[in-house]
């Protein structure tokens, strides 16, 4: 299978999120960027497919040159080659529009993405790519097998799981379950060395259309100090929850 894994480049999960003083953008001072955690599950699943039945795994990011270390990390984990589409990822529609011509020209059999990017939590790109290409789409995928060009996917739903079948090529937006946490690969020295010589191709942006624009960034309102209740007086907590918080 010829597989494409789409990778977004996001602040590390431990980052404190601050915005610039004009409220117009994310303040990236001191922030470490990493592979979007959902995309790591996607990448590992793709590598398993390749190890089992051959083929190739390409990773792609729509972004500027600062995202290349993230792509190199994906190469160190085991992807064969990387592509950077040289465009600012301004909104989900813009990213999807950049990805579709690559996907259509390269004729991938399968495109695996993450359920969402942990920065803007858009949950937009995978479905938009599927709609633009008119390919089957499975979101929140927690398990996937392929046989004879047909994929059987398990997806999470509110209140359970469901099993869906579709023919390749298709778009899958995955999460933990696609592989387990313990299956994720940490790049080793050899991986890091070979990643330096693996191809990382930069291709120009082909579209500049957006559907939405971020206008203003705001921090959540701070919390009041926590009220402590003695462990010998849990009734006091019940009272507070009822009378003060009106939560029960």
């Amino acid at each position: 299978m010829k597989i494409l894994v789409c990778i977004s480049h996001v602040p590390d999960t431990t980052s404190k999120i601050q915005f610039t003083s004009d409220g117009k953008s994310l303040d990236t001072t001191g922030i470490q960027f990493v592979i979007n955690p959902y995309d790591e599950f996607a990448l590992t699943r793709a590598l398993w497919f390749k190890e089992k039945e051959g083929g190739s795994v390409t990773v792609v990011n729509v972004g500027k040159a600062n995202t290349e270390p993230t792509l190199r990390k994906a190469l160190a984990i085991g992807a064969d080659d990387a592509i950077r589409i040289d465009a600012e990822p301004t909104d989900g529609f813009a990213v999807a529009s950049e990805l579709i011509s690559l996907i259509a020209t390269e004729k991938y059999d399968l495109v695996i993405m993450g359920r969402e990017s942990i920065d803007y939590n858009g949950t937009q790109v995978p479905g938009m790519v599927a709609a633009l290409l008119d390919w089957p789409f499975v979101n929140a995928c927690v398990g996937m097998e392929v046989e004879g060009g047909v994929a059987t996917c398990i997806r999470e739903i509110d209140g359970g799981k469901e099993t869906v079948k579709a023919s390749l090529p298709m778009i899958v937006a995955g999460q933990k379950g696609l592989v387990e946490e313990k299956d994720l690969r940490i790049p080793n020295m050899r991986g890091i060395m070979t990643a330096r010589t693996k191809p990382l191709k930069v291709i120009p942006s082909i579209s500049n259309e957006v559907a939405t624009e971020a206008i203003k960034f705001e921090r959540p309102a701070g919390k009041q100090a926590c009220k402590m209740v003695s462990s010998d007086d849990v009734k006091a907590l019940v009272d507070l929850l009822h009378n003060e918080a009106k939560a029960i």
Binding site: P11, T13, I17, F93, A96, I118, D119, Y120, N121, G122, T123, Q124, P126, G127, M128, A131, P136, F137, V138, A140, R155, I157, D158, G159, G160, K161, E162, T163, K165, S167, K176, G177, E181, V210, A211, T212, E213, A214, I215, F217, E218, R219, P220, K223, Q224, C226, K227, M228, V229, S230, S231, V234, K235, L237, V238, L240, L241, A245, A247, I248
Partner: protein, 321 residues
């Protein structure tokens, strides 16, 4: 004109998230000065005109039995049909897993500006501007649609339900058909539990509970409160609890009325998915646990002592109220 709203049902009954979506659509439509068209897809055993209680002026029921199973492509076609039919200006959906599957497909078909994770009512309607959650509850961003049409996918439990009482006209469309490119094979329902994104109260356990055998205590507390159950990531990684209960930055983001965290340290990635809960209670044996900084109420103590006492006190409270 009109605002179209997608409603979902589960076992033949409308989901609470659907009432919230209809109510949101009604409040948005009144800002625009137009009406609300609710779309019901597939079999539904409810009185469809009851959607009027939440502000739907019309209900279109796409009842072709082909639609009894969820399918993102055919459901997006149905909503496109409803939008075109009423020349609607926008669509509202709940950010359930199914809503999240349909919204981006619909955005492409309608050439609409899609704003997901919507956390409040629109700040302006022309252009459509609305505040959404981002950075896994660590921030908010006001977005603007650059297209004529908008699609708003709202955070479940985020904005709440406002009742109104409009009389809803119901119309059935039996004939509309739409192509699908994937097929539902089976549905595996989680037994007896309340779906997390919908739960108004969530009781959650972490590594401090020591092992899966100790979850009875959590479940008993949840039962008394009519709550859903959740857990921290390591707990699901170790398979003490199913993945679907993992909340946080890389799990499900929730914002219930009440979140009770037991034996959870309050790591930044955990807080990222739960800090929008309206009231947070933390039970932890370590007074220095970072979670207390994000909590409204805290008890320093051993969960094995505190939780059974709390369950008993709540039982007593429930019996009296």
């Amino acid at each position: 004109m009109s605002v179209v709203v997608y409603t979902e049902s589960w076992e033949g009954k409308f989901k609470k998230a659907s009432f919230e979506a209809v109510s949101y659509a009604a409040r948005t439509a009144s800002q625009i000065g137009t009406d609300v068209v609710a779309v019901v897809i597939g079999s539904c055993s409810e009185d469809l005109s009851s959607l009027g209680y939440y502000g739907a002026n019309q209900v279109i029921h796409y009842s072709n039995p082909d639609f009894n199973n969820f399918n993102p492509k055919s459901y997006a076609s149905i909503l496109t049909d409803a939008v075109n039919n009423r020349s609607a200006q926008g669509v509202v959906l709940s950010g359930s897993f199914n809503g999240k599957a349909i919204a981006p497909l619909l955005a492409i078909r309608l050439k609409a500006g899609l704003i997901t994770n919507v956390a409040s009512l629109p700040e302006s309607i022309s252009p459509m501007r609305v505040k959404r959650g981002a950075f896994s509850s660590k921030g908010f961003v006001v977005y603007e649609s650059k297209q004529e049409k908008f699609i708003l996918s709202i955070i479940p439990n985020g904005i709440g339900i406002v009742e109104s009482s409009v009389s809803a006209q119901v119309e059935t469309n039996e004939s509309f058909s739409a192509e699908a490119n994937s097929e539902l094979v089976s549905v595996n329902k989680a037994k007896g539990s309340i779906p997390l994104p919908e739960a108004e109260i969530v009781v959650s356990g972490g590594r401090g509970l020591k092992g899966p055998e100790n979850w009875n205590m959590v479940e008993e507390l949840a039962t008394v409160l009519g709550a859903g159950t959740a857990c921290s990531k390591p707990v699901s990684d170790m398979h003490w609890r199913p993945h679907s209960e993992h909340v946080g930055q890389t799990g499900i983001a929730i914002n219930p009325n009440l979140y009770i965290a037991i034996g959870i340290s309050g790591a930044i990635q955990h807080l990222a998915g739960v800090s929008n809960s309206r009231t947070i209670v933390v039970i932890n044996s370590d007074p220095e646990a970072p979670f207390f900084k994000a909590a409204d109420y805290g008890i320093v103590g051993d969960a094995f002592d505190v939780v059974p006492k709390l369950t008993a006190a709540l039982k007593e409270f429930k019996a009296q109220n």
